[in-house]
Symmetry: C3
Subunit: 308 residues, 3 copies
């Protein structure tokens, strides 16, 4: 049995048994909810704080719902996003929050590595959960993605997964690769314009593609990433239509994938840029399941790090 | 018995029995509160989300208090009000929130019809409550207004009500007219500068006035609307003093109304523009009762739409 | 026995017995927390509203935690800080909130005297707690400071306390002087650049210093204030280094104080301006204890004003 996690900052190097325990717990919570359990009290008396240095209403709300459904209190520590809090200033904020006897801090920050820096500087019993740091990691997104896949295709050793879009700047892609790799999927393909691909040696276990038509060939899962529109030009793609033409997922391209290929996207969608509505709203789309699983995964993570 | 409402987007065409049931429930909650009941748990385990695309601290707070006093959890989904969320983007937000298993969405949006569009696109069991859409409807304001009137003057069939101000752009006026009409008041008079009056055929059941002195003559209830100051010039009223002179409610004008005429205003007040302090703070003012009733009406609405 | 407080706007003229009762209650809550009590329900069913006209994430969070740990609901009434709400507009907001049946309003406002104006205009049973008004008072900060001192040095009649920085504009300094004076400390020294010192007759019970080296000589407690950087020039101190050189607390200066001199700061720290990291993070620093005591003091105040 692997030791309980006290923090969750990345899925990289997380043992398979830890990931599977979190997924199993999320599934148990999903089942309880399906049978009518609306609210648990396992974290009654605990306080969880959302410390978001980047705005993200969706992720913040998902964590807030997760914490409340476990009976915890939630504080939104709103920094106005003008703060570029780093170094000593960041650690002073951490220590101030610790001194107020918080139990967990959910942190999002544009600098990669910030959650780990908080873990290193934490003095007391506070737990740190990463809600996204720079281009580096978004571990609860990675977990909810593999939970969603597992629900439909538990045979990971047979699966080919393609992740398409701005891989280079995507913390979602990184956490997905880490989780999928640990769980033993057969093949992971990364696809995007050359300018938006990661260094060639970053993911030796993955296949790199620049042509989406060939990348999606026979894939069992297609994870489409949200494109930051300002990055299209750096990719020599002059407009949205050009990007969609080369890297958007529409019904024609989806037909090249394996039958029943799962369509996933971390949201929010840029319809007509990285994904066509016919696919986003189609029978193979798992996008809303991902959202629902996000709450259960975050409940599972909070239970794990805050268990006594 | 009328069927339970699952959503509340407008009072137009709402059956009298439904309005009266909501008012009766609001009164029962007010009585319970007066006898010391601080908090109920009828909505324990339920989650209500405030989805405000226009800022409104007062209305948001009133809904938040209502939901919490019924034991529900409340999430404020703060969009920063820079979002002009419409169409697909809006529905994606809706579906994302549904996938998180929310029970009710309280929505305010500057586009008329947005709450109904959400109702049409809602896929699961979520309830939609309109907290104000464009110029169209503000149903809980309409309900709290008639609740306040009923408390003092339950004989609606004898009442003359005057609504004065920028009728054209007022969702409050529209919801008031719908509720007052359904409950059978004798006469509704709409009064304002010609440029701020609605089309002549919009309210065939009302009398239109441009002269407030004659409009208030013998009225039993005077509902003063908040003036958006930028609209004064379009009404050919060059300044606040000119507006107050012609359409402001002061003691002299109130004396033309029926004895004991109720003075109402949805707030926040522009003192000295649409209402004089001597009247706003006077013995006939019901303005703070309206605020108190607002919480009870919103509790009643949440009970109605979220009852199992 | 002194009567129960219904409001807390300032520590000036507050009887010693009232201050000591609040400190005693805060200590009892701290002990209960140390023995594992996470949450009480003494304020279940009560609603506390944060009405902040100046941003302060730390103080707002401390009050929010305090209220929730007593079982109260908390509403953040966010005014966007663009509002300069004064006079009638402020009182209309107050009366609106009273009409919603709130139990306590925690108010911060840049105008000195605003909380007392709210107390004078409050019509119902609502309690007002000052979270900082202009340069005038920050009573819960004063209480948490004396609580922190008392924990280490209960022999107030022997203590020399130096407060250093921008005394003139500091509500913290004023509340500290009031609390320390009432509790009978031997000597209070105020130290800062001449331009940042209060009028000579404002604190006749204190000694005024412009030279920090002599002011700290033999002190048992050093309270360092946060410098607003824009005030350095008005103090003829051209830059941060110049300020630190004359008024910053470093190890060399701390060595001039009495052995074991307590180092305090209301936060957030300007490291290298009013305090050196070696001292802020050193063995004599009580800065994080202050933060922790802040929550207990605010719990004690809420219990006091909201007790039935």
């Amino acid at each position: 049995m692997s030791p309980r996690l006290r923090h969750l900052t990345t899925l990289e190097h997380l043992p398979r048994i830890s990931i599977e325990r979190l997924l199993g717990r999320a599934e148990a919570l999903r089942d309880a909810c399906a049978h009518g359990t609306r609210k648990l009290d396992v974290l009654a008396g605990r306080t969880v704080l959302n410390l978001f240095f980047e705005p993200s209403t969706r992720t913040r709300t998902s964590f807030e719902l997760a914490a409340r459904r476990l009976g915890a209190d939630v504080i939104n520590f709103d920094l106005g996003f003008s703060s570029t809090s780093k170094g000593e200033e960041l650690y002073d904020t951490l220590h101030t929050l610790e001194a107020m006897h918080l139990d967990a801090i959910i942190v999002r920050h544009k600098e990669a590595g910030t959650p780990d820096a908080l873990v290193r500087h934490a003095m007391s019993g506070v737990s740190v959960v990463n809600a996204g740091d720079g281009n580096r990691a978004h571990p609860t997104q990675g977990l909810l993605d593999v939970l969603t896949i597992r629900q439909h295709r538990p045979d990971f050793e047979n699966l080919t997964v393609v992740i398409c879009g701005d891989i280079k700047h995507s913390r979602v892609a990184r956490s997905d690769v880490h989780a999928l790799g640990t769980l033993g999927v057969k093949e992971i393909r990364l696809c995007g314009p050359a300018a938006l691909m990661p260094p060639a040696d970053e993911f030796p276990q993955c296949r790199y593609h620049n042509d989406f038509d060939s990348a999606i060939e026979g894939a069992d899962v297609a994870i489409m990433l949200r494109l930051q529109k300002e990055r299209m030009t750096s990719a020599d793609l002059p407009d949205e239509a050009a990007y969609f033409n080369r890297y958007g997922l529409d019904a024609r391209r989806l037909a090249r994938a394996a039958t029943g290929c799962l369509v996933m996207h971390p949201g929010p969608l840029n319809r007509g840029i990285e994904i066509a509505s016919e696919v986003a709203d189609g029978a193979q789309s798992r996008i809303l399941e991902q959202v629902g699983n996000g709450v259960f995964v975050r409940m599972a993570v909070l239970c794990e790090v805050l268990a006594r």
